[in-house]
Every structure is written in structure tokens, then in C-alpha cells.
């Protein structure tokens, strides 16, 4: 490296970081299933964001669709037919994507935030603090998800925000345990000792040394938790605990089931949301696996 005009050390560091990200992206691109997952996700997110342009939100409400034929199959009323109230399935599908994705992502972020904070704090500080946090975590783990979610939803009332809260509160123990385990090994590392010997405070150690080294685990875990959150939302909506005024894929399944779509053989009612959920969950899983591969072995190879 010639020293014509040596850029400042900070700029060098940042350009190195940008290059590392670019390399990670290049590595990710080589992972075919990961790219497929990413494409699906991109399409789903695009569709959800463009919902106002693609379908009239008023079409979700039965009162505006009385002119439509009920139970019309896709050939008679396109593109996806109508439900028992004459509402366009397509409209519900597009708008439902918004709720499913929003809840999935938001609930996951909430769960990962709580889980990370608890996991890092418990692992790092140890002692009675850790004992208390871990007992709390185990308590949440032991309680079955569905009854807890139902009770919480019943108490808080049906709305999108509450669903996010419920799923977040019931999902954080899983990442918390994983992260704590990782932190336990990390805090014994010699470079943590060295930093402490330099005079670092606990906050410095946690944010500068522990957090960057668990970030890989957190990211991988996040992409694998989103599908779980989406499915949880689906379940809760199916049980009637979701927001009654907004369509979601789970709600579509619930209403279809209640209205007898199976006996009517109205496959166009339950197939689209079912396939939609399946594809999105699959997409997140593929991306998550690809990310894990990209983040971990690269680290190993680089540090060889």
C-alpha cells in the first residue's frame, strides 16, 4: 500500500467493512436456494407495499361487494374468484400479505430484541442476575404457546398491535437461551480479558466485543424466527383472535373454514393464502440457511 496520501484510519476501516459486506453479498449470490428465497421475499414485500396500487382496500369489506357474485370461481370472477360474501379473494390476498408480513417481521424484531438483551445480560453478568433471568426464560418456555397466546389476546383485545405483542412475548425465550450460551463462551475469550485489562467497562465489553461476535447468531436466528412468527399469526387469526377489520392470510383461512369452503369445494378460497404462507415461510428459511453458511464458514476461512 503506497503512502501517497494515507486516508484516515477510520475511513480505511469503513471501506474495509463495505468491502466485507460486498464480499458477503457475492458469496450469498452463489447460493442458489438463498437467491430463490430472496426473490420470493422480494416479490412478496413488493406486492405488500404496492397493495394500494393493486387492489382497492374497500374490497375487504363485505358491504362494498354485495354486487359481486358469491363463491365465484376464478374463471367467472378473476383473478382469484370471490368468497362467500362476494369479496375478491385477490384483494384479500394482496392486503392480507401486508398483515402477515408486518406481524411476522415486527413480532420477530420484538422477540429478538428482548431475547438478545436477556441472553447477553444473563450470559455476561452471571450470578444471581443470570439465575433470575434464566428461570424467567424457562417459565416462558414451559408454558405452551397457544394457551398463553389465547389468554393474552383475550385480555389485550384483538388488534394487529396486540398480536405482534403476544407473539413477541411468547417467542423471545428461544433466542435468549441460544444467545446466552454463545455469550458464556465468548466472555471467557482472551480478548475480553485484554479489554478488561485496558480498563474497559462492562458496557464497553458487551457492546464492543460480545455483541459483534453474537451478531451472526442473532441474524441467522432472526431469519429463522420470522417463519415461526408468521405461522403463529396465522394460527391466532385462524382462531379468531386477529383484527376483525383487516384481512390476513390466517383470517382468510379461518373465514373460509367457517363458511364451509371445503364443502363448497371452493379451492380458490383457501389455496392462495395457504400457498402464500408456505412460500413466504420457505423463502425465509432458505434465506436463513444461506445467511448462516455465508456468515459462519467465511469467518472460519478468513481467520485461518
Amino acid at each position: 500500500m503506497s503512502s501517497v496520501a494515507v486516508p484516515s484510519a477510520r475511513r480505511i476501516t469503513w471501506s474495509r467493512r463495505r468491502r466485507a459486506v460486498a464480499q458477503a453479498w457475492a458469496e450469498y449470490r452463489r447460493h442458489a436456494p438463498g437467491m430463490i428465497g430472496l426473490a420470493i421475499l422480494a416479490a412478496a414485500v413488493a406486492m405488500a407495499l404496492a397493495a394500494p396500487l393493486l387492489a382497492d382496500p374497500a374490497g375487504q369489506h363485505a358491504v362494498n361487494t354485495t354486487a359481486n357474485p358469491a363463491w365465484a370461481n376464478p374463471s367467472k370472477f378473476g383473478p382469484l374468484g370471490t368468497d362467500h360474501l362476494g369479496r375478491s379473494i385477490m384483494t384479500q390476498f394482496i392486503w392480507g400479505a401486508r398483515i402477515s408480513l408486518l406481524v411476522g417481521l415486527a413480532a420477530t424484531v420484538l422477540a429478538m430484541l428482548i431475547g438478545s438483551v436477556v441472553g447477553i445480560a444473563a450470559g455476561f453478568f452471571g450470578g444471581w442476575f443470570e439465575a433470575v433471568l434464566m428461570r424467567l426464560t424457562e417459565w416462558f418456555l414451559v408454558i405452551p404457546f397457544l394457551p398463553l397466546a389465547i389468554v393474552l389476546a383475550a385480555i389485550l383485545g384483538p388488534s394487529v398491535e396486540n398480536i405482534i405483542l403476544v407473539i413477541g412475548i411468547t417467542s423471545w425465550p428461544f433466542p435468549a437461551r441460544l444467545i446466552r450460551a454463545q455469550v458464556l463462551t465468548l466472555k471467557e475469550r482472551l480478548y475480553v480479558d485484554r479489554s478488561r485489562a485496558l480498563g474497559a467497562s462492562n458496557w464497553h465489553l458487551m457492546t464492543r466485543h460480545v455483541l459483534p461476535n453474537v451478531s451472526g447468531l442473532i441474524i441467522a436466528n432472526t431469519t429463522l424466527t420470522v417463519p415461526v412468527a408468521i405461522l403463529s399469526e396465522t394460527t391466532l387469526s385462524f382462531l379468531g383472535l386477529g383484527d376483525p377489520s383487516r384481512a390476513s392470510w390466517g383470517k382468510m383461512l379461518q373465514e373460509g373454514f367457517a363458511a364451509g369452503a371445503l364443502t363448497q369445494q371452493a379451492w380458490w378460497y383457501y389455496a392462495p393464502p395457504g400457498v402464500g404462507i408456505m412460500l413466504v415461510v420457505l423463502a425465509f428459511t432458505l434465506c436463513g440457511q444461506a445467511l448462516e453458511e455465508v456468515l459462519d464458514p467465511r469467518l472460519r476461512d478468513q481467520r485461518a
Binding site: A9, L190, A197, L198, G199, R208, N213, L299, Q302, R303
Partner: protein, 335 residues
Amino acid sequence: MTAAPLLEVRDVRVEFPGRAGVARAVDGVDLQMRAGEIVALVGESGCGKTTLARTIVGLQRPAAGEVLLNGAPLRYGRRALRAHRRAVQMVFQDPTGALNARQTLYEAVAEGVRIQGLPGDEEQLVAEALSRAGLRPPERFFARYPYEISGGQRQRVIIAGAMVLNPSLLVADEPVSSLDASVRGEILALMLRLVRETHVGILVVTHDLGLAWNVADRVAVMYLGRIVEQGTTEEMLTAPRHPYTRALLSVVPEIAHVEPQILTGEAPDPTRIPSGCRFHPRCPLVASGEAQRLGIEERCRGEDLGLAPVPDAPAGSDQVVACHAVAAATMAASP
């Protein structure tokens, strides 16, 4: 010695509770060091030397005793510890593990500067520290990561990171044992140069007597949590008095003229420290019957003892030894 010594360790004890009982890793150690001095703390694994080193740096709290820096005892509040770390720094055995693989070398050295809030231009301080540690031109190393440089260079980065704070005492825990043999001399030469240039004191923890001969002014030998003999390097390594030191010296391969005294077994673990002189179960004097002949065997088995001056040492020497045989000779020698 009129002024307070740079470092004073007073009757420090460090204990680790465990399933098998309490491990007394450091069991009453007194040690003093002056500025600009290199002291080698020698012993085998399990003797407590690393624990003592960490206690001096403040990474470990003693169960009893005090660590004094320039006469002031070390307190364990946050601010007191941070101030202590300005003055006492550590160099680690495994330079690869001691560097966060995700940090650039610049960040690794600048970390201390930032934590301690040192005044001045950070970039300049880092460049100077790297340069002084032998990494030149320092700018070339700023953006590199630890995996891109060799083991010896990583150790230099660690040393730079420690010296950037301008400490008065450097504690080096096996600084070269994980490096290639042909590279060790360079790091040791660097340490000598640092002492000459900055008058820093260095406590080198090692199991390598050859290293002590190479760079140390004084040597202290530890066994099972205690210092059993101390003195200048010349005294300790050419005329040791303690049977353990003698045995250690005799098995060093370079010493061909001394019959090796290979001790049986390994050092007992610190949860079961023997009664009396803690070395007596493995002591060649006891095993060969010499102790009985001298009439001290009972004391060796039953009476614990501390460091005492050596009887026929030259005037001005402060070599001390914890051995009943030597003490008996002292009694016999004094009128």
C-alpha cells in the same frame, strides 16, 4: 531502598472454591519490584504464577493481602481500577486469542486510548505505539486484521496496545512461549529496549529458565502458590539453594554438566496442599534420606516456613529461600 518500590505484593492470597475443596492458587506471596527492573516469575503449571499475574493487573481479586503500586494500595472500585490500568498493563500468552478477530490492528491499539480517554491525536498515538513496537511503517498495519499477520507481529500489536498507555509496569504472561523459537529473541529484545527507553518495569511469568537467564534481572521461583526462592538471576541460576530450583535447573537440556534430578510425580493440586514444607513429598532431600541425616525431616513434614536470607551469600545480596535445610545451615553458621 528509600522510595516506595514500584510494585509491592503483600501476603496476597487467592482462592478458587471448587467441588473438590478450596484451591489456594496463591497462598501468601510477598514480592517487590523496582522501576526499570525485569523480574522473572518462574514455575510450572499450577503453581499460581498466572493467577498472581492477573491479581497484580487487577483482573483477579485476592482473598487476602494487598497489591501496592508506588506505595498506594489497589482498591477495587471502578474508578480506582481504571486508574490502576493506566499504570499496569498486561501482555498475554496467546497473541492470537488476545486480539478480537473482528477488529483491525488500529482499533486494537486505539482501544486503550479510547477507554482511558488519553489526550492527544489518537492516530498519532497509535502510529507511535506500533512503530515503537517494531511495526514499521505503522500506517501499513492500520487496516489489517490479526489473521493477516504472523504470531510475532500479533504479539507486537499486543505490546503496542499496552505501551500506548505509558504504563509503569508491564506484566507479561508467557510472552513468547507460543511463538516460533527463532522469533522469540526479537520480542525479548523489544522488551529490553522498552525498559531502556521508558524505564517500565516488566514482570515476566514463564516456565522457561533460559528466558530468565536471557532477560531477567531477578528471578522468583513459585511452587504451589508460594515463592520458594528469590534473588538476582546470577545467584538463582548459578547457585540456587532451594531443592526445587536446583531440580528445575538440573533438567534444563542446555545444562549438561549437572546430573538431572528428575522429580517423581507431578505437583499436587492446590486443593490439597501438603503439610509442613509444601515441597516435602517430592523433595530429593527427603527422598534420599539427607533430610533425616540433617535432623530436619520432622520440620520438613510438619513445619511450614517462609522466605529467609541465605547464610553464606555475598554481602549486599538479598537472595531469600524457604527451605529447612538452608535454615538449619544458617543456624549452624551463626555463632
